[in-house]
Point group: C2
Chain length 433, copies 2
């Protein structure tokens, strides 16, 4: 296909007219497709329905004989759940905390506690530091950025390279003692889908940080969520930080919300002994303990790492075709047009699409007009502002595959309308100036 | 019976020798009875076993048609749970938040958010105020005090009068603009069991606070937990504060941990529209939402307020005899001895016992030696320090009734040993000086 940039004025105008017609026809279908969030589909949730009947009436005791229905057992979570996720999180059982239903809440709480009471290695709470900053690889996860924004933590962005964040830039930024943290989604990153390379992880573990209490917020949300086989394995950040002499550098987070039930799963945490002690000391003031029944339910249902792997295979078989459906639409409409670049991630929940500068907001608005709701423009950047207005996050997991196909169609047409229009406008401006 | 104080030296010595012998015999039985925490018993937990099978496989949709297994629906909790607890909390559905499994965590979060972002009516976050204080009625709940201690909030104590806190003292203290909050357990208070009178509640609602962002932390943990009939009703603090022109003064908390499962229940919150907006704005940064499945489970099981009342009646029939067992032991051993004063609360989970000044720690230690574990001395006071060393909290709900009887026996003997010994020592000192 011809790149739009290389078309003659008249060809481009004809092309624009044609895709406008196609888009109008699409819009007139009056669809309502929600592609905003990385939500599991109903079929995915059905995989874990057995959870709903667990633990059964006569079997609510933990392996240690205690009653999961009552208070007690502390804030670390039940031993069998800590055991189950120890391998997934890459830390010994004693360094694992199984929390409530939200890993985001655990991340939020770690920041809140760090604002109010110094983390190991720190001399003061972060709140006492004027101008505390976080490094934010972009595009990234809007809910990470929202926590920083809410508490006035300045966000400094670094680009993604395909192997994780631009490490030269990260190493330059982290020398600043005001930089207290960095958001990382190391595997199948949200939204680009890329996975941090060994070199990236080693550099993050060993780089010289200006702040002795600098922390990597290592949100390994998609640790098991591969779309292709075999699953990518990444270096164990806790092993690398320890080897590099920075044992307390990483807070590792995980979640089963996209394994069992969205918002009805378990939040996971792993870190160094000092960090685990710090967090549990804070948690002990906050709560008597997590919902042990839901933890027991999960252990009984998932059983072991093999059980987790089998379940994730079933998720993959439901999700992967939806990603393929988007790629098919993109290939059909956008390939060779120079109108968009997109990732084909090996895992995760998103497809990241870059359109020419200044076009993302318009594309998303057009899609909205046609009943295809996408994550708002700018969401993947701090403060909701994409400086180039070019990134679009597509979340294909939730709708039925027929709807995903339609959404891919609509999005492709919206891209073509917007980009051809933008090119035409630029040519007009060129000629009149 | 003769008061110990009025016995002759020889009679007191003989009495002391006798109770020491009895206590030694008790200790030699090698019991292990845990009376430390207000935990439901196994029989109480069995009442709600039906919860463990809810929601069943085919019935996980909310009334609005949404799927409780997936993300979505916001941070307020599911509509049917908000509806169910609206009457209990005394606020319209729109002013109710149903949280996770821990009301303590909700209280903790309210303090954390108030430390970091100003509450409605406040000019600055509490953390920016040097020397922020909380009023703490004593004796009170150790976990309330621990939150303040953790964040360096100074605690100023006021005594309890039998109708709630000493309001003359509260009104004097609250004029200080550094006083930002006050802990209140208004019904069947922990540990004294007393219930705030209408006059107390009206004065709390209408008193002039020095800080415009002063908050009552109204932990109505025992709202439905009566031991006698009929249940005491207290004034609705939200109605009273609104009528007094202080609509944003109270954060109201509740919990089903002592209704369904300890740590496996629901945390409840009610307040003014401004406070609810403030809290939900914070929560939206923290989490995608609570565990809706556990909320749905609770709604299906409890059904309505009548269902709640029936369940609480069944709890009462299990708990009340345990309180009676303690009173019987106290009546048998301690009545008329002048060695202890105890409450006979109309509800709640505790019996508060006052021994002569300087005796509580010794009594609790002796009990521990004899296998009757009580909440550590001082726990009911801020910083774990009972200035008179006289308050003992007895939590009779968890053990079997036979064990509660034994524990009452052991505690009574430990009191008699300690107090007679203390009197003898005082008489010796008198004579030698």
């Amino acid at each position: 296909m011809t790149e739009l940039q290389n078309m003659s004025d008249s060809a481009l105008r004809a092309f624009h007219d044609r895709v406008c017609e196609e888009f109008d026809a699409f819009r007139d279908r009056g669809l309502a497709l929600d592609m905003t969030r990385g939500k599991p589909s109903t079929a995915q949730l059905d995989l874990s329905n057995a959870l709903l009947r667990l633990p059964d009436n006569v079997d609510y005791h933990l392996a240690d004989g205690s009653d999961a229905r009552n208070y007690g057992g502390g804030v670390h979570g039940i031993p069998e759940a800590r055991e189950l996720f120890s391998e997934v999180l890459g830390a010994p059982v004693t360094q694992i905390i199984i929390g409530g239903n939200s890993s985001l809440a655990l991340m939020h709480d770690c920041i809140v506690y760090a604002l109010l009471t110094e983390v190991p290695g720190g001399a003061t709470p972060w709140n006492d530091v004027k101008g505390a900053k976080f490094i934010c690889p972009v595009p990234g996860y809007d809910r990470h950025f929202a926590i920083c924004e809410d508490f006035g933590i300045e966000m400094v962005t670094v680009g993604m390279t395909g192997e994780g964040p631009d490490m030269d830039e990260v190493e330059r930024l982290v020398a600043d003692p005001l930089v207290k943290g960095m958001w990382c989604v190391p595997k199948y990153s949200n939204p680009t889908g890329e996975t941090y390379s060994d070199d990236t992880i080693r550099r993050l573990a060993s780089m010289k940080a200006g702040a002795p209490d600098f922390r990597l917020f290592w949100d390994n949300a998609y640790a098991l969520h591969n779309l292709t086989e075999p699953r990518r394995e990444i270096l164990n950040i806790l092993g690398e930080t320890e080897a590099a002499g920075n044992p307390d550098r990483a807070f590792v987070f995980g979640s089963t919300s996209k394994i069992t039930f969205g918002g009805g799963g378990l939040a996971l945490f792993a870190s160094s002994p000092a960090n685990v002690d710090w967090l549990t000391a804070r948690m002990q003031k906050c709560t008597i303990g997590p919902d042990k029944l839901n933890q027991l339910r999960h252990v009984r249902y998932l059983k072991d790492v093999a059980g987790l792997d089998q379940l994730m295979d079933r998720h993959r078989s439901l999700i992967a075709p939806k990603f393929e459906a988007i790629y098919e639409a993109f290939d059909k409409h956008l390939s060779g047009r120079g109108a968009a670049e997109w990732k084909t991630p090996e895992g995760g929940y998103f497809i990241s699409v870059d359109v020419p500068d200044g076009c993302a907001e318009k594309v998303i608005q057009l899609c909205g007009d046609a009943g295809v709701t996408l994550t708002p423009a700018g969401s993947t950047y701090p403060y909701g502002h994409d400086p180039h207005d070019r990134n679009i996050r597509v979340a294909p997991t939730y709708p039925d595959i027929a709807d995903v196909q339609l959404a891919g169609e609509g999005l492709s047409l919206a891209v073509l309308v917007t980009v051809s229009e933008s090119l035409l406008a630029a040519r007009t401006t060129e000629k009149t100036t």
